[in-house]
Symmetry: C2
Subunit: 210 residues, 2 copies
C-alpha cells in the first residue's frame, strides 16, 4: 500500500507527539487531544488512523504504545536505516557525529566528498569516499537514505548521481529545490530560512492570540 | 500590527519561492501560480497578500520584486539580525561557521557554552562565553535571536535563561518541546525526526499521484 506524502507527513507528526507522550508515561489519548497537540482537526486524525486499522482504540481513546508501534511499522521505523552523508564540510561532519541519529535507528554507514584533500581520510571514525564511487560504495554498504550537505552550486548534480544509484530518500541541506525523478522523495532543511521564519518575532511581535 | 503565527509561516514560504523566482529572472507571478508553488489555495494567497496592501498587483499578476520586498519588510528581514549560538558542540560549531547565514543578513555575534574547556577559547573566530554571562554579553552584543544546540537534558533550563534575558526568538535543535513565556517564539529543527519523515520512502514507497 502506498500512502500520499501528506498522510506520511501527518503520521510522522503523530509519531513525534506519541513518543513524547510515551516518555511522559501517558497510556491513552483521545483523537481530540492528539489533534490539538499536532494542530489538526479530530476528524482528520480519526480518518488517518482508521485508514490503517483500529490501532487498539478503546473507550479511553487510543493506546499510546500500540498506536506508536503501528505508525512506526507504516513509516518503516522498526528496522534501522543505513544512511550516507555526501559533503564533508562543517555541517556534514557535525551530522556524521550526531548521536541523536543512532538512538533512533539511523546508522551513518558511509561519507563522501569530491575533495582530494578529504578522500581517504577519516572523519568521526568513518573513511571519506570519493563521490565518484557513490554507486559502488553505497551498494556495498547497503545505503538506503542520503543526507546532502554539499554546496548549492553542485547539489543538483550530486542529487542526480544519488538518484541514479537507486536511492529513494534524500535529506537536502542546500537551499535549492532539487529536480529528481518522481520516485525519489526529497525533504529540505534550509537553515537560513529557519532563521528568516523567526526574524519577525525577534522584536517581540508575537501575537498573544496564538 | 501583530500577525498570527500561521500567517507568518505562509509569508515566509511565499518569500522563499519569490526569492527563487527572482533568481530565475521571473518578473510577474499570478496568485494561482504562487499558490501552486507553496501548496496552498489561490484564495488563501490573495487573502494573505491583500491584508497587507496591494503589493503592486497588475493585470499580469504580482510583481515579484515588490512583493518580495514588501514581505521582507513585514518579516523584519530588511535590517540584519544579530544571532547568538548556545552550545559549542559539533553542530553549534558548524552553524557558527555557516556562510549561508551571513548572506541573508544574519550575523553570529556571540557563542556560549557551559564547559570550562571551551569558555575563553576561539571557535570559527569567535570567543566562547560562559552561558552564565548570557544576559550581560547578549545585551552588550545586541543579540536578537538565539540558536540552541545544547543537549536535550539541559535545553529547557538554557531556554529559560535566554527568555529571561529578553530574547524573543529561539531556534531549537534539541528534540524537546520547550516551555517558555508566550511572547517568545520557538521554532524547532529536529534532525532525527527529519530522517524519520523520510524513512517511509527509503524502500521506494513514493506514491506517484503526489
Amino acid at each position: 500500500m502506498k500512502v500520499s506524502d501528506r498522510t506520511i507527513e501527518r503520521l510522522s507528526l503523530y509519531y513525534r507527539y506519541l513518543y513524547i507522550l510515551f516518555q511522559q508515561g501517558t497510556q491513552f489519548i483521545s483523537s481530540k487531544h492528539l489533534a490539538s497537540l499536532v494542530g489538526l482537526k479530530p476528524e482528520q486524525v480519526r480518518k488517518d488512523l482508521s485508514y490503517f486499522g483500529s490501532f487498539g482504540r478503546t473507550g479511553k481513546g487510543y493506546e499510546v504504545v500500540s498506536l506508536q508501534r503501528a505508525i512506526a511499522k507504516i513509516l518503516g521505523l522498526e528496522q534501522g536505516r543505513k544512511v550516507a552523508i555526501v559533503g564533508v564540510g562543517n555541517l556534514g561532519m557535525a551530522l556524521a557525529g550526531y548521536k541523536g541519529f543512532e538512538a533512533l535507528g539511523f546508522r551513518i554507514v558511509a561519507i563522501f566528498d569530491s575533495s582530494a584533500n578529504k578522500i581517504g581520510k577519516k572523519y568521526k571514525g568513518k573513511v571519506c569516499h570519493d563521490i565518484a564511487d557513490f554507486k559502488e560504495v553505497s551498494k556495498k554498504e547497503g545505503v538506503e537514505m542520503v543526507i546532502l550537505t554539499v554546496p548549492s552550486e553542485v547539489v543538483q548534480e550530486v542529487a542526480q548521481s544519488v538518484a541514479a544509484a537507486g536511492i529513494k530518500a534524500i535529506l537536502n541541506f542546500a537551499p535549492v529545490n532539487l529536480n529528481v525523478p518522481k520516485a525519489v522523495k526529497v525533504n529540505n532543511i534550509d537553515l537560513a530560512s529557519e532563521l528568516k521564519r523567526l526574524s519577525y518575532y525577534a522584536q517581540g511581535n508575537r501575537k498573544d492570540a496564538d
